[in-house]
Symmetry: C2
Subunit: 194 residues, 2 copies
Amino acid sequence: MAKPPNPARRSESSRQAILAATGELCSQVGYGRLTIEAIAARAGVSKKTIYRWWPSKGAVVLELLGETATIATAPPDTGDLAADLHTMLTEIVDILTRDSAGTGVISEALNDPDLARDLRERLIQPGIDAFKQRLRRAQDAGRLHPDADLDVALDLLYGPIYHRMALHLGMPGPAYLGSLITHALRALTPPTPH
Amino acid sequence: MAKPPNPARRSESSRQAILAATGELCSQVGYGRLTIEAIAARAGVSKKTIYRWWPSKGAVVLELLGETATIATAPPDTGDLAADLHTMLTEIVDILTRDSAGTGVISEALNDPDLARDLRERLIQPGIDAFKQRLRRAQDAGRLHPDADLDVALDLLYGPIYHRMALHLGMPGPAYLGSLITHALRALTPPTPH
DNA sequence: GATAAACGACACGTGTCGTGTCGTCAGGAG
DNA sequence: CTCCTGACGACACGACACGTGTCGTTTATC
């Protein structure tokens, strides 16, 4: 029934004020205590304006994350696979460590299928594609087993990060990240190189 | 100020009614829509009684999960390490797949440090201990590299499950679980067996 | 410059939260 | 067996955030 708004007439300044207010409030009070009302008040904006363009608080934070995302852009390729993986994994660890926006959206998406779809399509899947793209190059270069399953590779490399996040086991530091990468690569490399 | 209640005089029947109502409602409407008020109404109990013994909805669901937890009990040991790991991982996958209680508590704990502490102490850590206990036996039997880091092993094996849960990548089936275990074990086994 | 619609403001009903109050009832202590 | 403390069910309460509706005002497109 409610006719969809016309994006051409959308106020860009309001949009940016909303995202800015969301970021500030989220880092101040945390994602859990973040409310639409507070965002509207801080941004000097009517609640109606927020609800006109976003379905939920999670969607706003998701868009905020998307604004500053370098994730999905082309993955690093220095020739050193382990180093490149370390770079990519570190970026995720940083996002999940910096403030509560990242973990907040993930936690909300666990109970909100619509938000989950948005999250996957707009942030996760591009990251996965970039990751697999990098691994495929390594495979072509003979650095990985030719039959290696890239889904397994993804799970082995990124799994530990989300495991430790979900269960509050402490986020991995650089050294431990290196150890994880070493082990994962061992599982994906031909057993007898020599 | 609020004096702590006396557990000796606690009504066991109310407690069980609350947990039962929580389970029924959670599977009906999902964890996200579960409310303390609804639990109280369904259990025929005053809200005050719930708040007297639990600090939050998450704590109630956590206790419910603890009631039916086989997780922390002694891990299986058939002699076949891969098969035992498959059994253990399958149990977690089942819990996270069955209803929304498991993922609900995990998602809530991401934004609630107190709940996170309870979750880790009462469910996660015992499970980790049992897992490491089983792996240590495998290590003693020479099935694992003597220097293998059991924290890495934990991350490689359980990580993929939580990774796929958090990012809605689809929970692994038995076959894929087997593939993950094979790869993880390859990373933890002496490189040149022969 | 006209006009349609997005905007800020504000009010509204709803639902849930967490707490307070009160009379009742049960189960340990003596 | 009786007393008496305190947990119980019931209900009311204020606070808060939700999501929607209304109404002038403003703004950007045509």
